[in-house]
């Protein structure tokens, strides 16, 4: 993976635009889907956006009984194949970070698919708390832009 999410909790104002953008980007027929990004609002910070890390050895993919979670080579995202998913919630339970959600109504797993390489949560973040950056820029902390 050459690009990762960089989350700067100090910049997050917990406005919820990323959650909305995600829900609408993954909706169908005008109905928003479940948001794959969540802001954790109960800590001392205003909010911490939590998003799938696209693990190299992913527990969700290993736990899936039907092999519905597959690596998308183009975007570097682990994607849920909706046709294969049986909604058993094994991936939800196996994810060590709690970043997989169930789509209400459909009862299928939903996880971050990087919006096909252009994450909409990043596009809608007004403060730059989430950025989709090359890996080298993302692993430095504190990064220059946070100060």
């Amino acid at each position: 993976m050459d690009r990762i999410f960089r989350v700067v909790p100090e910049k997050c104002v917990a406005c919820g635009k990323c959650e909305l953008a995600c829900a609408f980007a993954h909706g169908q027929d005008g109905v928003p889907g479940v948001s794959r990004i969540r802001i954790y609002r109960r800590g001392p910070e205003a909010g911490v956006p939590i998003i799938c890390l696209q693990c190299d050895s992913a527990a969700c993919a290993a736990a899936c009984s039907v092999g519905a979670i597959k690596w998308n080579v183009e975007t570097g995202a682990l994607e849920v194949d909706r046709d294969k998913c049986v909604g058993c919630m094994m991936c939800v339970a196996a994810c060590p970070f709690g970043n997989i959600y169930m789509e209400p109504g459909l009862d299928k797993a939903a996880k971050c698919d990087l919006c096909g390489g252009k994450p909409q949560c990043v596009a809608f973040c007004p403060t730059g708390a989430i950025a989709y950056v090359p890996t080298e820029a993302g692993v430095k902390y504190p990064c220059e832009s946070a100060v």
């Binding site: 939590i50 009984s65 049986v86 939800v92 970070f97 709690g98």
Partner: protein, 126 residues
């Protein structure tokens, strides 16, 4: 009128014993050894459809009376908040799976997110 539920069943005339349905069943409803005829126990089948992808199309849906489902469904409780997550049968199956950390089954997704934020806070030293 009795309540009906859907379960899956194996057509023994078509089953070649490839063992695929056994491997994918997270509820341990499928019994049978490789190269023998497999059977789905309707008492345990939760009709998730994971086994339906049969190379010989031997698995079909049937409607049965709800009373055949006699298995008691025990679910895992989150150690932190007490929310119900997967069933204990699924947790058993998942912990034997390669690449899955059974520790993750102990918490619900909400509590896991909270723990993730806590760990990040420690790493950043604030």
């Amino acid at each position: 009128m009795t309540e009906k539920i859907t379960v899956y069943q194996v057509d023994h005339a078509l089953c070649i014993g490839c063992h695929r349905c056994f491997k994918v069943c997270t509820y341990q409803a499928v019994s049978g050894n490789p190269k023998e005829k497999h059977t789905i126990d309707p008492a345990r089948c939760m009709a998730c459809g994971a086994c339906f992808d049969c190379p010989k199309k031997a698995i079909s849906k049937v409607e049965v009376e709800a009373s055949v489902r006699t298995v008691e469904i025990a679910r895992v409780r989150c150690e932190c908040c007490g929310a119900l997550t997967i069933t204990t049968a699924q947790a058993d199956w998942g912990s034997r799976r390669k690449g899955v950390n059974a520790e993750a089954f102990k918490l619900c997704d909400e509590c896991k997110r909270r723990r993730m934020v806590g760990q990040a806070r420690q790493l950043m030293g604030c």
